[in-house]
């Protein structure tokens, strides 16, 4: 039986020892090495060619995301699991962007860690359930942004559309945006043209249908 070879990269020896101590309980998992610093990680990865690297985002003298990026470039075949105590969005999106296979929080993945390693090894991608909401919200805003661009609407026009959907008339919109009513009228007209709508109701319906609002 082939065992999954694992490299643990964490700058805290006690954490490394803890992880190793846990993983050695499983026969299909083999901890082939440990690294405490960024350069050590790259070096060990090149030497040991592990299947999976458990990578802490904060390492002494290096940024985990940056290491992950280099690892992806130099060893695209190595699966990377970001294992961290931080649920910081910056790290999360950075990790997803560089193409890490999983982003797990240390404290919540104690029991699921072996299964996660196996899944990643099988080619799946994982995310701690607590982080899913964040990612989805990000995705939603990205999606709406994309729709907006596709419809050729500006962010301002989108805001006007939202106000229209809430039933605001031109005067109320003008007051909200500190414009004159004439300006509002002109902008509404442009929105109607862009959405290919005959009137306000139709425009709002169209926007809802397209998921813009």
């Amino acid at each position: 039986m082939e065992r999954i070879r694992i490299l643990i990269a964490d700058d805290h020896p006690i954490v490394r020892q803890g992880i190793r101590s846990l993983l050695t309980q499983y026969d299909d998992l083999e901890v082939v090495g440990e690294a405490g610093t960024g350069p050590a990680v790259l070096q060990q990865a090149a030497r040991l060619k592990p299947d999976v690297i458990l990578l802490d985002v904060r390492m002494t003298g290096a940024n985990g995301i940056e290491i992950a990026r280099q690892l992806r470039r130099e060893h695209p075949e190595i699966r990377i699991i970001i294992l961290t105590t931080y649920d910081d969005e910056k790290y999360l999106y950075g990790a997803l962007q560089v193409g890490a296979q999983a982003y797990l929080l240390k404290d919540v993945s104690l029991e699921t860690l072996p299964a996660a390693i196996r899944a990643v090894y099988q080619g799946e991608r994982l995310l701690s359930p607590l982080l899913v909401d964040k990612v989805l919200r990000e995705f939603q805003s990205l999606a709406i942004e994309k729709l907006r661009r596709d419809a050729g609407l500006s962010e301002e026009e989108l805001r006007i559309l939202r106000a229209m959907a809430e039933g605001a008339n031109n005067k109320e919109i003008a007051e909200e945006f500190f414009w004159s009513e004439v300006t509002v009228k002109k902008k509404v007209q442009e929105i109607l043209v862009k959405l290919n709508a005959e009137n306000r109701t139709q425009a709002v319906a169209q926007a809802i249908r397209q998921g813009l609002i």
């Binding site: 805290h12 006690i14 954490v15 020892q17 803890g18 101590s21 309980q25 105590t85 104690l110």
Partner: protein
């Protein structure tokens, strides 16, 4: 003016017209009444005639035809406009008469009732009379009617026009009126003519004569030959005019004389008013007087000190003037006039005044002297003389007296003017002197100017102002004729005792005038710019009773004898006193000002220094605060980092171990136990780590055991961590301080030792606590490199540690001193109050933001 003639004419004409109108009106009215009465009488007669004729016919029983014939015949006479007979009613009924013969109108009906009716009406200005007379049956005629005799059986109606008759009468009346009017008119005109000829014309002649005389034609005579009272009146008038003509000539002559006199007097007055210079006016007056009176010689004399002095003259020989130039009042005629105030006229000097030798010698026979009076005082005499006796009369005397009054006024005016002018001049000079006072505060300048101005009022040869200075007089200002070279005297000091006159003035404190021709000037011996003076005036400069100096003026060759000079000099002396006073006050104020300014400057400098110190302290405090905040932030970061690096990783490690134990628990219990063992160890480490962090945050030992144990513990740790050896010694009896003070001392020692470890490059440090009853003294020494204490303390940026130590010491009422020198290590000495009483001395823990 309305003339009398038309008035008379109007009166007579009016009366005549009234009479004429009355006569004509009377004639007219009586004529008209007569015409009317005659007309009516004639109509009555005609009517009666017609009635009688008809009656006669009826009585004869002429029947209707007869009646008709009668009527026709009556109508043929032309006297009646209409004539008809109207039958009565019974007849009509009986005979069936024609309707037109029935009674027609109201008159006829009234007549049928038995009334005789007459009606007069006018037509075209003439009357028409209508009669309606009842006809009574005269004859019984059964054929014709059944009426009884006497019954009315009809009426006869006649209408008679009086035109022809009355017009004739009126023509006659009009002719009569015209004749009468014309006669009366001619009579009136004749009356007018007579009136005009006999009364009006002579009256007009007289009136014209009166007018002519009134207009000045005194030679006008009247020609009236009426032979009545008017002629007498004209004659009287002519006599009066002749008399008037005579008296007028005399009057005119007198007026001419008076006019001449008045003109002369007026010219005198004018001459007197024209000029204020008597030298100009008096000769002119004299000329006028001579032209008016016609004297051969004349002069005007003015009283000066009881003597009459000739001021101007005409026609007098030099010999006379020489002899008579000064005449005492009361002497000779002129002197008497001046004495008594009355005019003295001598008609014949030879006879009346043989004592008037001078005039007689000059060949004068008559003379006239009138006094010149001003405000009731004799001021002089006007004197006229002639070689003819009886040359002057009372009129001339009166005129000359009037001239004398004018001249008196002129002299008075000139005197007043001169007095006023000199006073004004003095006032002006004094005013300028006042201006000088306010213009400058330089005493010498003011005094010099004062002297100069005094010289303009008081014509003197030399003047000087001396100021008392101790027992000397210093010459402060001089002025004098150039050749005297008075300026040499400036600054010269004269001992008070050296000059008797000056000393006297100073002692007596009053003005002294010395008039002593050939006198030596009042200066010190050995310094004599002026050889001798005639007149000297010395005025003390008095402020209250203090003599501040002297003002002296001198005259070389004559004396002033009036009272004005001392007064003027005193006025200037007062100004000089004021100037001296001003200068003194000014000097005092200046000194005061300077002192004040110096004080202000000193204060300002002190304030500036204090402000700089404050600014530096504020800057240090600001840096301290910034650093404190930074330290706090760093501290928090460090704690967070500590927790992350130490605590949370340890927890993580323990968690993984327990998970491993959990996983292996069932199958490999011994492995699990080993894992749990590891976890326990990690947890122990965790506890130690936690304790370390907490201790760092707050040394619990400080509050529980006190300052000494806490420092012992910390220093032990410090030595381990820094490698700097530190000796900790204590003397005196150890006791607890207030928590604030203990904490402050603890932090000060910490900071000091931190600094030694970081900056001093020291190997050995010594910390010593000395407890005394009142204070706790802390000494921290090291064997490090030391530093330039002043430079470091003044550089507020880098050594906040030192400043914050100082702040901490001050906050608990203590003091902190730093002793250091490059190469010689550093000593920090802290002294804090150790008893509870001195708690209040410091600012207390409340105001310590760093504790």
């Amino acid at each position: 003016m309305k003339s009398l003639y038309p008035k008379i004419m109007l009166l007579v004409g009016g009366a005549f017209a009234v009479v004429m109108t009355a006569i004509v009106a009377f004639v007219y009215v009586s004529g008209s009444r007569q015409i009317e009465q005659e007309g009516l009488a004639r109509a009555e007669t005609l009517n009666r005639m017609a009635f009688e004729v008809l009656y006669a016919s009826m009585r004869q029983g002429g029947g209707r035809e007869g009646n008709r014939r009668v009527i026709a015949r009556l109508q043929e006479t032309g006297a009646f406009t209409t004539l008809r007979v109207v039958k009565g009613e019974p007849v009509v009924r009986q005979f069936g008469a024609e309707p037109e013969e029935l009674p027609r109108d109201a008159l006829e009906r009234r007549a049928l009732a038995g009334e005789e009716v007459r009606e007069v009406r006018r037509e075209g200005g003439y009357r028409i009379v209508r009669y309606v007379t009842p006809l009574r049956v005269q004859v019984e005629c059964q054929r014709c009617h059944q009426a009884q005799i006497g019954e009315i059986n009809g009426v006869i109606s006649t209408e008679i026009s009086l035109q022809a008759y009355e017009s004739t009468l009126r023509q006659r009346r009009d002719v009569l009126l015209l004749t009468l009017g014309g006669g009366l008119l001619i009579l009136g005109l004749l009356t007018f003519y007579a009136l005009q000829r006999l009364v009006i014309r002579p009256l007009q002649t007289i009136q014209r004569g009166a007018t002519a005389i009134a207009q000045g034609a005194l030679d006008h005579r009247l020609e009236v030959r009426t032979g009545d009272e008017l002629e007498v009146l004209a004659r009287e008038f002519n006599t009066m005019a002749a008399r008037l003509q005579e008296s007028y000539v005399v009057l005119e002559q007198k007026v001419a004389e008076r006019t001449q006199e008045l003109v002369a007097l007026n010219q005198v007055a004018e001459a007197v008013n024209r000029s204020l210079d008597l030298k100009e006016t008096l000769p002119e007056v004299l000329e006028q007087v001579m032209a008016l009176i016609g004297a051969e010689a004349a002069d005007i004399r003015v009283i000066e000190n009881g003597t009459l002095c000739v001021r101007t003259s005409r026609g007098l020989s030099p010999a006379f003037l020489e002899q008579d130039a000064r005449v005492p009042v009361g002497h000779c005629l002129c002197g008497m006039a001046a004495l008594t105030g009355r005019a003295m006229m001598a008609e014949d000097l030879h006879r009346e005044h043989p004592e008037a030798e001078c005039c007689l010698a000059a060949g004068f026979r008559s003379s006239l002297s009138v006094p010149v009076v001003a405000k009731g005082q004799m001021v002089g005499v006007i004197h006229l003389a002639s070689s003819q006796p009886y040359a002057f009369n009372a009129r001339q005397e009166a005129i000359l007296t009037a001239v004398g009054q004018h001249v008196g006024l002129a002299i008075e005016k000139v005197r007043l003017y001169e007095g006023e002018r000199s006073q004004r001049q003095v006032a002006e000079i004094l005013r300028r002197a006042s201006q000088t006072l306010s213009a400058s505060l330089n005493l010498d300048t003011v005094l010099h100017t004062l002297l100069e101005q005094l010289g303009q009022v008081l014509i003197v040869d030399a003047g000087l102002i001396l100021l008392c200075e101790g027992d000397h007089l210093r010459v402060a200002a001089v002025r004098g004729r150039p050749e005297l070279r008075m300026e040499r005297l400036l600054g010269y000091q004269i001992p008070l005792s050296a000059n008797r006159d000056f000393y006297r003035v100073i002692q007596e404190k009053r003005v002294l005038t010395f008039c002593q021709p050939g006198r030596r000037p009042p200066f010190a011996d050995g310094f004599q710019p002026i050889e001798e003076v005639d007149w000297c005036l010395v005025v003390p400069l008095l402020r209250g009773s203090e003599v501040m100096g002297l003002l002296a003026v001198e005259q070389l060759d004559h004396c002033y004898d009036k009272e004005e000079e001392p007064q003027i000099a005193m006025a200037f002396a007062n100004h000089a006193v004021m100037a001296i006073e001003n200068a003194r006050l000014y000097a005092e104020i200046k000194t005061l000002n300077e002192e004040l300014e110096a004080r202000v400057e000193r204060r300002t400098q002190e304030l500036n220094e204090a402000r700089e110190v404050l600014a530096r302290q504020a800057k240090q405090l600001r840096h301290l605060l910034n650093k404190t905040i930074r330290i706090q932030e760093e501290e928090r970061d460090r704690i967070a980092q500590d927790i992350h690096d130490g605590i949370s990783q340890l927890i993580m490690g323990a968690l993984y171990e327990t998970q491993a134990a959990k996983v292996s628990l069932a199958e490999r219990p011994e492995v699990a136990r080993k894992k749990l063992q590891s976890a326990q160890e990690i947890l122990k480490q965790l506890k130690t780590e936690m304790q370390r962090i907490i201790y760092d945050l707050h040394p619990a030992v400080l509050s529980t055991s006190g300052l000494v144990p806490a420092l012992e513990a910390w220093i032990a740790d410090y030595q381990v961590h820094t490698g700097v050896s530190c000796a900790f010694t204590i003397s005196g009896s150890v006791r607890r301080l207030t928590p604030e003070r203990e904490r402050a001392v603890y932090r000060i020692v910490q900071e000091a030792l931190h600094n030694i470890a970081q900056h001093a490059q020291a190997h050995q440090a010594w910390v010593m606590l000395t407890f005394t009853p009142e204070t706790l003294r802390i000494t921290i020494d090291d064997d490090g490199c030391g530093f330039d204490r002043l430079a470091v303390l003044n550089d507020s940026r880098n050594h906040l540690g030192l400043v914050s130590m100082q702040e901490r010491a001050q906050s608990i009422g203590g003091e902190l001193e730093i002793y250091s020198r490059p190469g010689y290590g550093t000593r920090i000495l802290v002294q804090v109050p150790a008893n509870d009483h001195s708690e209040g001395e410091g600012n207390g823990a409340d105001s310590d933001p760093y504790c």
